[in-house]
């Protein structure tokens, strides 16, 4: 039951992130929203690993943590370079 509620919160957060990507006044806002959306997806993956009792999904969490960091840094560099 708790896990279902948490997954619902994740769904709402992901909706908020999508909204911010669409409206977000600056490009940095969009990068930030994509970053938060990725964190939300990683969180949902961990919750699903608990709910479905599938430890293989935890490896996905580990890899996604690394890839999410690379994504954020590369997109931030892209935004900074465009403004210069």
């Amino acid at each position: 039951m708790v896990v279902e509620v948490a997954l619902g919160v994740m769904a709402l957060s992901l909706g908020v992130c999508a909204w911010r990507v669409v409206v977000g006044p600056s490009d940095a806002d969009r990068v930030l929203a994509v970053d938060l959306g990725f964190v939300v997806v990683v969180c949902a993956t961990a919750l699903l690993a608990v709910r479905l009792r599938t430890p293989a999904l935890l490896d996905l969490v580990l890899v996604a943590t690394l890839v999410g960091f690379l994504t954020t840094v590369v997109l931030a560099r892209l935004v900074a370079g465009r403004g210069r």
Binding site: P25, D35, V39, V40, V61
Partner: protein
């Protein structure tokens, strides 16, 4: 209450608290006035929320291997998220994202188009005060 039930309750409580922290980050993304404040919310709350959710996974995890995986993921998260948040905020400032007039202080000392304009900006600072300064820098 048996030990297994206690572990179950603690783990599910951590999952709930972590997901609510991530929800708080999303709320900050809606309500805060400019991209810098949103950076603060999205990095701090989301990183803490993810770490707490993963700790809940550690408590509920069935095997030692998955506990190890989760602990490595938590450590990576704690190291990488501050760097990512800093990069995003600096990119926002370098690409001249609008600053809310509530902002009082700018260590980067932008805008960056030549020294002349920078001196004008400093004159404006002396005469105009903080509020005007924030608005002047916005569209630069």
């Amino acid at each position: 209450m048996s030990a297994a039930a206690v572990v179950d309750v603690v783990g599910q409580g951590l999952l709930l608290v972590g997901s609510l922290l991530v929800g708080t980050a999303a709320l900050g993304l809606v309500r805060l006035p400019d991209v810098y404040a949103r950076t603060n919310a999205a990095t701090k709350a989301a990183a803490l929320g993810l770490v707490v959710v993963l700790l809940g996974g550690v408590v509920l995890a069935p095997t030692a291997g998955s506990v190890l995986t989760l602990l490595v993921a938590i450590a990576l998260q704690l190291f990488t998220v501050p760097i990512g948040g800093f990069e995003v905020a600096q990119a926002a400032r370098l690409s001249a994202a609008p600053v809310t007039p509530l902002t009082h202080h700018d260590d980067l000392g932008l805008p960056r188009e030549g020294d002349q304009r920078d001196e004008e900006q400093r004159d404006g600072e002396d005469e105009g005060g903080v509020q005007v300064d924030g608005q002047e820098r916005g569209p630069a």
